[in-house]
C-alpha cells in the first residue's frame, strides 16, 4: 500500500511537472529523444494499473499469476534465478547474461541485472537506486560461525555522486535444515549475517547454503529497494 501511495504521488508530481514544462514533441531527433510526454503517460498509466492491482491484492503484495512449475522453468535448459523484491511487489525469473567465474550476472527480460559473487549480491543495475559496487564476504566466511569482517557498499547518490557505506558484520550459523524450492528439497545450512554501522543503522542478510552454493538468500540491496530474495531454482 505504501508503495502504491508513493507511486501515485510520484505520478502526479511527474504529470504536474510536465504540465509545467509542456513537452509534447515530435521530430527526427525522436529516436534519440522519445517524446517524454508519451513515455510518462505510459508510465503513469502503468503505475495506475499497478496500484489498482496491488490494492485488489489486499495485503499490499502483488498478486502474481500462478507460479510456473519446475518443469516449465527447466524446459529451456538454462540456469534460473528467482528474484523477489517485496518492497516493489516484484517477482521475476532471471537468466544468466554474463558469467565471469565467481561473479555471475543475472538479467530480467527488460534489462535489470543482479551480479552475485558466489551467490552473494555485489552489484545491481536498472533498479534506480542501484548497488553500484561492494565488497562482500565469501561463502567460506559465511559458513564460519562468529566470523567478523567489514562490508563496503557503494551507491550512486541521487545527485549522481558516489556514496560509501561501511558495515561491521558478524556471521551466525543458525543450523542445518531442509528447504523446498519448486518441489525440490535441499539440505542447507542456515546462516544469518548481522551488519551495523557506527551511525546506528542495521541490516540483516539471511542465507540458506547447500554445500558451497547459496541456494536461497535474502539480501539487502539499497535503502529505497530494501531486500531482495534470491532462489537458485535451476542450476
Amino acid at each position: 500500500m505504501g508503495a502504491g501511495v508513493a507511486v501515485t504521488r510520484a505520478a502526479r508530481f511527474a504529470t504536474g511537472f510536465l504540465a509545467l514544462s509542456l513537452v509534447t514533441a515530435c521530430g527526427s531527433y525522436g529516436g534519440v529523444d522519445t517524446p517524454p510526454v508519451f513515455r510518462v503517460a505510459g508510465e503513469v498509466a502503468k503505475e495506475a494499473v499497478g496500484a489498482v492491482k496491488s490494492r485488489r491484492g489486499g495485503g499490499g503484495a502483488a498478486t502474481p499469476a500462478a507460479p510456473p512449475s519446475r518443469e516449465e522453468l527447466e524446459k529451456a535448459g538454462n540456469p534460473v534465478l528467482r528474484v523477489v523484491i517485496p518492497a516493489r511487489g516484484s517477482d521475476a525469473f532471471l537468466t544468466i547474461s554474463d558469467d565471469k567465474g565467481d561473479v555471475v550476472t543475472w538479467t530480467t527480460k527488460d534489462g535489470t541485472t543482479f551480479s552475485l559473487r558466489n551467490g552473494v549480491l555485489t552489484q545491481t543495475r536498472g533498479l534506480g537506486p542501484d548497488l553500484m559496487s561492494s565488497e562482500v564476504p565469501s561463502v567460506a566466511t559465511l559458513l564460519r560461525n562468529g566470523a567478523t569482517y567489514q562490508r563496503l557498499y557503494f551507491f550512486l547518490g541521487p545527485d549522481d555522486r558516489m556514496g560509501r557505506r561501511t558495515y561491521d558484520c558478524t556471521v551466525t550459523v543458525v543450523g542445518k535444515d531442509t528447504i523446498e524450492i519448486f518441489a525440490r528439497n535441499h539440505a542447507i545450512t542456515r546462516v544469518t549475517e548481522d551488519c551495523t554501522r557506527p551511525q546506528g543503522s542495521k541490516i540483516t542478510n539471511d542465507y540458506w547454503i547447500e554445500g558451497q552454493t547459496v541456494r536461497q538468500s535474502s539480501q539487502w540491496v539499497s535503502g529505497p529497494v530494501g531486500v531482495a530474495i534470491f532462489q537458485r531454482v535451476v542450476d
Binding site: L20, V103, D110, T112, S115, L127, F155, R161
Partner: protein
Amino acid sequence: MLNSSRRLLAVSAVSTALCAGPALAEITPTLNINGTTGLIDMPSGDAQDDATFSFSTTLVGPITRSTLSFQITERLSASFRFQTLRDWDTLFPDDPSSDDQRNMDIRYQILKESQYVPAVTIGLVDFLGDGGFSSEYIAATKTFKEKVKVTAGLGWGRLGSYGSIGSLFGDRPPLENTEVGKPNSDQWFRGDFAPFAGVEYKINDRWTFKGEYSSDAYELEDETRGIIDRKSPLNFGFEYQRGPYARYGFYALHGSEIGLTFHLILNPKTRATGGVMGPAPSPVMSRPARSSDPEAFDTGWVTQPDAGPLLRTNLAKRLAVDGIVIENLAYTASTVQIRVRNTRIDAGSQAIGRTARALSQVMPASVEVFEIVPVSRGIGASKVTIRRSDLEQLEFAADNSSLLRERVELSDAGPVPENAIGSEGLYPRFGWSLRPSLTMNEPLRGAVRLRLSASYDIRPGLVLSGSISTRILGNGEKLTGSSTGALPPVRSDGKAYTENGNPAVENLTLAWFARPAADIYSRVSFGYLERMHAGISGEVLWKPVESKLALGAELNYTKQRDTDGGFGFDEYDYDVVTGHVSAYYEFGGGFVGQLDVGRYLAGDVGATVSLDRIFANGWSVGAFATVTDVSAEDFGPGSFDKGVRFTIPLNWAIGTEGQRTFGTTLRPASGDGGARLNVDGRLYDVIREFHSGALDSEWGRVWR
C-alpha cells in the same frame, strides 16, 4: 519486469534511507506565504536543507505573491518574488488597476540550532526593489520536543512598522528614485524596529498549526491604497504536507483575510526516481589470458582490408542501443580511438563507460588502449584514455569508479587521426523537431509557443540550423522592459517582438565549430542569430581539460531585426559591434563563476558577474548582475541588469533517459543596458560536460 512498475518513485524512502541515515527526528523547516523560510507572514531563524529549490504561490485577497527560493549553501539562501496587487485604483481611480512588484531577498543563517542555542538568521527582504516590500530582520527559532518551534525576531522597514519599540541606527531615509534597483544599503536596519513572534506546532506528519504576531502594519496596502483591511496583528493557520514535494497552507490573516498558499519543494540532490533509470549496461568482455591463448592476441587482423568497416558496423550496432553515434574510428594493433556523439545519456561519464564496454566486446584482444573522444557540436571535447585490462579487472571491484578514475587519463582531444575511418552516411545529416516551448517571464506568466526546428550538419562542426515559432497560448505579455528612450531599444521592445511575430523566424544560422589547436576552441556563427538581432558572431575559448580556469573572447557585429519575425531590418536603423572577454572558474562543489567584460548591445561598456551552482545530475541555479556605464536613470527601473536563472533536467523529474531541460531566466526589471547577444552554442557550455570539473562530479556513472 522487476522495475517496470514502481519505477517512478520511491522518494520518501530515498531521503530517509539512502542519503540521510538515521536523521534526528526533527520538524522540517517550513516556508511562509512569502516563499521564504518562516512562519506565516514572518520569517524564522531556520534554513532549508542545502540546495532546496522551492516555488511558492500565495493568494491573499487582492495580493498574489509567487516566489522562487534557492538554498544556495547550507546557510545562505536567496529568493525572487513577483507580487501583483490588484484593486490598486481603489482610492486613486486614475492609477492602473494593478501594481506589479519584483523583489529579491537574501538571508544568512548565522547560528545553527543546537541543544541550547536557537537557529538565528539575518535577512534582507526586497533589498533591490523600490522599497515597497523592503525590510530587514533577525530571527531566532528553537525547537522543543520535536513538536513545537518557537520563533522570535526583530524587524526593520515593513517588519518594523507595527508596534515598534524604537530605533537603533537613526532614521530610515526615504528611497531616492535613482536608487531603485540598487541595494538599498542606506536603509538597512535603519528606522523603527519592532518585535515579532510565532509558534509552529506539528500535529502529525501531515498537519502543522502555525500562529504568529506580525510586526508588519501593511501601511501601503491598508492606509495608502485601501486594498486590505488590516484589523489584527495576529495570523493563524494550518499547513498540510502532501508527499515530499507539495505543501498547502490555509490561513486567517490580519483579522480580515483568508490566505491560501501552495509550495512546490524540490531538491536537485534528491532524484525523483531515487536513482538513474535505464537498462543495465552490457558486460565487459574479458579476454583470455595471453599465456593460455596467445593466438587470440595475434595482430594480423590490422592488415585485413575489411577489418575497419566490420569493427565499425559492430560497434555502431552496440552503441546505438544507448543513443551513441560513432563519428570516427581509428586503430592500430594495440590502440583504438573512437570519436562518439552522445545523443541521449545525460551523464558524459556514463556515455564513456558504455562506449568502453562496447569496445571491450568488439575490438580484437591485441587492442589494449581505448581512447574515447566525446564529440560535441563536431568538436572533440576531450580524450578519455582507458586501459582495457583496468576495465576487465575493475568491473566487479569495490569502489570501481574511484579506482578506474585513478587509472584513466583525461587530456586534450587532439586532431582526428589520419587513419580514421570517416563517417560515411553520417554527413550531411538532417534533423528536425516540432515541440511546444514555454517562455516564462515570471512565475505563472508566460506563453507557450510551438516551435519547428531543423538542422543540417554539412560536415562535423559545420551546421546550418533554423527555427520558426508561433504562439499557441499565453496569459498576457505583461513583461515589457520600459524603454527610457535614452538607449536604443535593443531589448525593451520585447512585447512588440512577441505580438507581431506569429509566426516568426527565431533564428537561421550557419555555425562553424572547431578546435584549431590544443586546448583552444572556436566558433563562428552567421545569420539570424536570435529573435532581435542578426549578424556575425565569433568566439575563441582556451580551456585545458583539467583546468578550473577558462578564458574566452567574443566579437559580434549585429543589426537589429524587424519585430515581425521576417528577414528585414527596416524598423530599426541600428547596428552595433559588441564583444567580451570572459573568464570562467570552477570553484569546486559545483560552483562556477563567470566574469565578462566588454561592450553590450546598446553600446554600453561594462561587466557581468555570474555565479551558478551546477549539480552533477544537470540541475543548475544561478544569478548574475551586469553593471555598465549606463546611468541608473537611463537604464530605467532596476538601475542595472540582474537576475536569476535555473535549469532542471527533465529526466530528473521523469526518470527516463534524455538530455532535455526546462529552465528560464527571471529579472526583477529589464532595460536596454547590459544586454548581451543571445547566440546559440557558446563554447564553454559546449565542452564543459566532458572536462574534468563536470566529468569527475558524476564519474560514478561510468559503470552505470
